[in-house]
């Protein structure tokens, strides 16, 4: 059975903080972005998920959605069926199949792959994938500086033209001490060895992307776009080059410098921006990353219409800047 993404939706919070705010408040900022998206006090990963999903399903017959796959490494509850909240907010059928993926930033593509599996088990035509994330760490931790927020959602369909899913390949293995969180803690930690972190990131993503190219018998030139999970922009760009991709292939999927680290959303949000501008027939490869560590690469071909109501560009432009003090207030630090 052929499976394609036929529509998608994106949500970015309205608030932004500039890197300069960190520098003037703290004297430095560990992450190299221009500005990043910040959730308001009344937002969480579920409210962002609902907004993105609502856009993705506008124009789709909700009664034909047979599965909901939800992902976040930062759900507002550690235990609860949060798919239920999304079902009620969107008015979906209460008998659909659901799943929730969390615990690492790999959750986004995991949810995507699960939705493909669930499509085989439902008589309905569509599956909805919703990925929403807002990584968190204590204000005193360097890692925190880069953490942004955002959500995206995709409607997958059986045997319909759209963004066709051509193939997947994955890699996972042990990598200790990188971006982890213990039960009961609200923020992540890290042993803080940057060279080790980049090495694992590079090897894991390379294992998935190059493996997928081999499996598909394609090479980087066959692709119009590459989208990589971005903890920071530089490492991703250097890795893309090492794997044989050009800056041009990478550019449109790189949103880190405008939204920050969006965790489980990172590669999928980049995909949405690529789709806003992609030409029919374009091949796109995306690759997620979760510390610990794992990566999943997916190859797509744009062989039909893939709709979006609010372009990512307009969401990037719709914003209000806040101060670092106000940012700390929103994070309940003061």
């Amino acid at each position: 059975m052929n499976k394609s993404v036929i529509s998608y939706g994106v949500y970015l919070p309205y608030l932004r903080i500039k890197r300069d705010e960190y520098i003037s408040a703290l004297g430095s900022c560990s992450a190299a972005y221009k500005e990043k998206a910040v959730m308001d006090i009344d937002e969480d990963t579920i409210t962002m998920a609902v907004e993105a999903a609502r856009d993705a399903v506008s124009g789709i017959d909700a009664a034909q959605i047979g599965a909901l796959s939800l992902a976040s490494a930062n759900f507002p509850y550690s235990e609860k069926v949060m798919a239920g909240t999304v079902i009620e907010a969107l008015g979906l059928n209460n008998n659909i199949l659901t799943c929730q993926h969390g615990n690492s930033t790999l959750a986004g593509t995991e949810a995507f792959l699960s939705a493909m599996g669930m499509l085989d088990q439902t008589d309905q035509k569509y599956a909805l994938v919703v990925v929403s994330d807002a990584p968190a760490a204590a204000a005193a931790v360097d890692l925190e500086h880069g953490f942004g927020a955002g959500a995206c959602a995709f409607v997958l369909a059986k045997d319909e033209p759209g963004l066709e899913i051509e193939g997947v390949y994955a890699r996972a293995g042990e990598a200790m001490g990188l971006r982890y969180r213990l039960p009961g803690e609200t923020g992540v930690r890290d042993i803080g060895v940057k060279t080790y972190a980049s090495q694992v990131y590079n090897e894991t993503i390379k294992g998935a992307v190059l493996g997928l190219l081999r499996k598909m018998q394609l090479d980087p030139n066959d692709y119009s776009h590459l989208v990589l999970h971005q903890n920071d922009a530089k490492t991703a760009a250097a890795l893309a080059k090492k794997m044989g991709f050009s800056e041009e292939q990478l550019n449109q999927g790189q949103l880190f410098s405008l939204v920050g680290d969006t965790g489980a959303c990172s590669a999928l949000l980049g995909l949405c921006n690529v789709l806003d501008n992609a030409r029919s027939g374009a091949r796109i490869i995306i690759c997620s990353y979760g510390s610990g560590a794992g990566s999943q690469a997916i190859s797509f071909k744009l062989s039909g219409a893939c709709k979006n109501t609010r372009p990512v560009k307009s969401l990037l432009e719709s914003k209000k800047y806040i101060s670092y003090i106000y940012y700390l207030k929103l994070k309940r630090c003061i």
Binding site: D40, I41, D44, A89, G91, S318, K329
Partner: protein, 142 residues
């Protein structure tokens, strides 16, 4: 003091609070939101059909709640923001509802301006998040 709404009470209104489900009177055709036992328009209809409202409307009247005037369940938000704007929104389908406004434009806003519903946390009590609707200025046509 704000009126305490128990979890079971809130739970019963989930369809209305999460996706603005109203009731269309089968007698006069008007939409009741929030739902009523007897139609508030014709005072006669007591049979209804569920309809999901679009969430689009316009500002009918507005005010700002200052920090001290906030009911306790909104205290956290008031503490963070100092005050927050509230409006009576007239929905496209007719009903008028009171709701908070998010990100009102700094240059001000006035009666009649178009707004759209957004899904937000309304407040949190006993560790349970109460989700529901607020309104933002309608997206400018891109």
């Amino acid at each position: 003091m704000g009126a305490h709404i128990s979890i079971p009470m809130y739970q019963r209104a989930v369809a209305q609070r999460y996706r603005l489900v109203g009731q269309k009177c089968t007698k006069c055709g008007k939409i009741n939101f929030p739902p009523k036992a007897v139609c508030k328009y014709c005072q006669a209809g007591n049979e209804f059909e569920n309809v999901s409202l679009s969430g689009k409307g316009k500002i009918y009247s507005k005010t700002v709640i200052a920090g001290g005037g906030a009911p306790p369940e909104f205290a956290e938000e008031a503490k963070c923001k100092g005050s927050y704007p509230v409006a009576i929104v007239e929905l496209d389908e007719g009903p008028r509802i009171i709701a908070q406004l998010v990100n009102p434009p700094e240059e001000g806003y006035s009666i009649g301006m178009p707004v759209e519903a957004v899904f937000r946390k309304i407040y949190e009590e006993e560790g349970v998040i109460r989700y529901g609707f607020k309104f933002r200025m309608a997206a400018q046509s891109v």
